[in-house]
């Protein structure tokens, strides 16, 4: 059996050039972040991602 979740979540917000963004992807903050890897075993209640 399988469970498929489809959901809407905020995108990552890229800072503008005025805010000093120089193309460094690590500076992109916020938005949806996954906390799992493909093939990883998860238990019920464990976080799979966060906003």
């Amino acid at each position: 059996s399988t469970v498929v979740l489809v959901f809407e979540a905020p995108k990552k917000k890229r800072p503008s050039l005025d805010e000093g963004w120089m193309g460094d992807e690590t500076k992109i903050k916020g938005g949806w972040n996954w906390t799992v890897e493909k093939g990883q075993t998860v238990k019920m209640g464990q976080a799979i991602g966060f906003v």
Partner: protein, 439 residues
């Protein structure tokens, strides 16, 4: 018999060549006809495996004069899949369920369940009932509960929780309405969740707020002025349209302030908006995302036979509607997911749709041959892997064909009555929603 075989004289007569050629020709014509009929029937199939339009006669009659039924889609793939597609998988699944409901003799229960646990890796120390004699059969053991506290919820309230034990097969962002399956196989969101028709529930009544606000469903001219500035939801065929209910407040983007009124098109009327959206100007999954600020994501979790098979709410959300697709029941093992494209769109599944803090949210348990029964705790009317449901689906397909309308492929129910305020059934994070049962 030996005597008869030995003593009977076999006499061979020559058959005229023309008769042989004629026989082979007739057989070939028959085969071609059958193939063409099958192809015509397949042309009428949608992505969800059901008829998109009438086929086999406009009066709802099949090619043999029988009532129109949901045609069974024949998946392509290696010989294992071809063989599997010929099997009555749902009947096998139901038989498997009945078999597993047979009572196991008392003294065989503990060794039997321990053997099962050894083979499939069940952690017996987590099972709520320490005395395995209590489980009368494998079906009861399979649908076991866990001890309180063995599955603590993640403390981060902005986190989405895993709804069940399992393995993450795939996750990512949905681009262009395509959900990626294992190893790059893709299928459309419409096929998985069902095509969306324009109604009052979608887009969600309020994306940032679980409580729908009064008047939020109306189209506001101010929204048109704002949305036309957005690249993602600009004008369609010269008509600027609104995305009602998607914004919890006015747009604060810099473009909105500097907009030149002389170059902006006139906001569309509500009738124009509805007509445009009804024509499918934009797919529904594009419409649910909020003006380029949000995106759709997906995750696929596979439950192995030894896993805890109840599932819980991954977040606080409101279930607005349920769609039951009475499809097939192929195995959903990772091997078959790799080899059978669109597996999730073929199998029987229950799509729960609603909204959470950030907008649209859907939860889809997909059945398999061994675990065909999907149970939803707050939906007593739902019957999965049932002969009655299949018959009802066939009847619905037949009636749709008679009306000359496409069959959606699913039976829909809404949970609006559960809470007139929330317009759906509210679930807390971690709350048990249902589970998968054997057969």
């Amino acid at each position: 018999l030996r005597k008869a075989l030995d003593d009977t004289k076999i006499k061979w007569y020559p058959i005229p060549v023309s008769v042989g050629i004629g026989f082979l020709g007739l057989a070939q014509v028959y085969r071609i006809n059958e193939r063409e009929k099958a192809r015509q029937q397949e042309d009428g199939l949608g992505d969800n495996g059901y008829v998109n339009g009438t086929s086999g006669g406009s009066d709802g009659e099949g090619p043999e004069g029988s009532p129109q039924k949901r045609p069974k889609i024949r998946p392509t793939g290696p010989w294992q899949i071809q063989v599997m597609s010929t099997l009555p998988l749902k009947a096998i699944s139901r038989l498997w369920g009945k078999f597993n409901e047979l009572q196991i003799p008392y003294y065989l229960r503990v060794p039997g369940f321990k053997l099962y646990s050894f083979i499939f890796g069940v952690n017996l120390s987590e099972v709520s009932e320490p005395d395995l004699h209590v489980y009368p059969n494998l079906a009861a053991f399979f649908y076991r509960t866990l001890k309180p506290g063995v599955r603590p919820l993640d403390p981060n309230h902005n986190a989405l929780l895993s709804p069940s034990d399992g393995r993450v097969l795939q996750f990512g962002r949905i681009v262009g309405g395509e959900v990626e399956q294992v190893k790059g196989m893709t299928y459309s969101l419409d096929a998985l969740l069902g095509a969306h028709e324009l109604d009052e529930s979608y887009p969600p009544k309020s994306s940032h707020d679980m409580m729908p606000k009064k008047g939020a469903t109306s189209y506001r001219e101010g929204d048109s002025e704002v949305i036309k500035q957005d690249e993602e939801f600009a004008t369609v065929n010269g008509i600027s349209y609104t995305l009602p209910n998607l914004f919890s407040g006015p747009h604060k983007g810099p473009d909105a302030k500097t907009a030149d009124a002389s170059t902006t098109p006139k906001p569309a009327s509500e009738a124009e908006v509805r007509a445009e959206l009804a024509l499918g100007a934009r797919p529904w999954y594009a419409r649910v995302t909020q003006a380029n600020r949000t995106a759709l994501y997906y995750v696929v979790i596979y439950l192995a036979p030894g896993d805890y098979h109840r599932f819980h709410s991954p977040t606080a959300w409101v279930v607005e509607k349920r769609r039951h697709f009475a499809g097939e029941l192929y195995s959903v093992s990772p091997y078959l997911q790799r080899t059978l494209p669109g597996l999730f769109t073929l199998n029987e599944r229950v799509v729960l749709m609603g909204r959470w803090r950030w907008g649209f949210f859907s939860y889809t348990p997909v059945g398999a041959t061994n675990v065909g029964s999907i149970k939803i705790n707050f939906d007593r009317e739902l019957r999965t892997n049932s002969l009655t449901t299949d018959t009802a689906a066939d009847k619905a397909a037949e009636q749709a064909a008679k009306r000359g309308e496409p069959y959606s492929g699913f039976a829909e129910a809404t949970y609006e009555a559960a809470s007139p305020i929330l317009h759906g059934h509210a679930l807390r994070r971690g709350e048990e929603m249902g589970g998968f049962q054997l057969g």
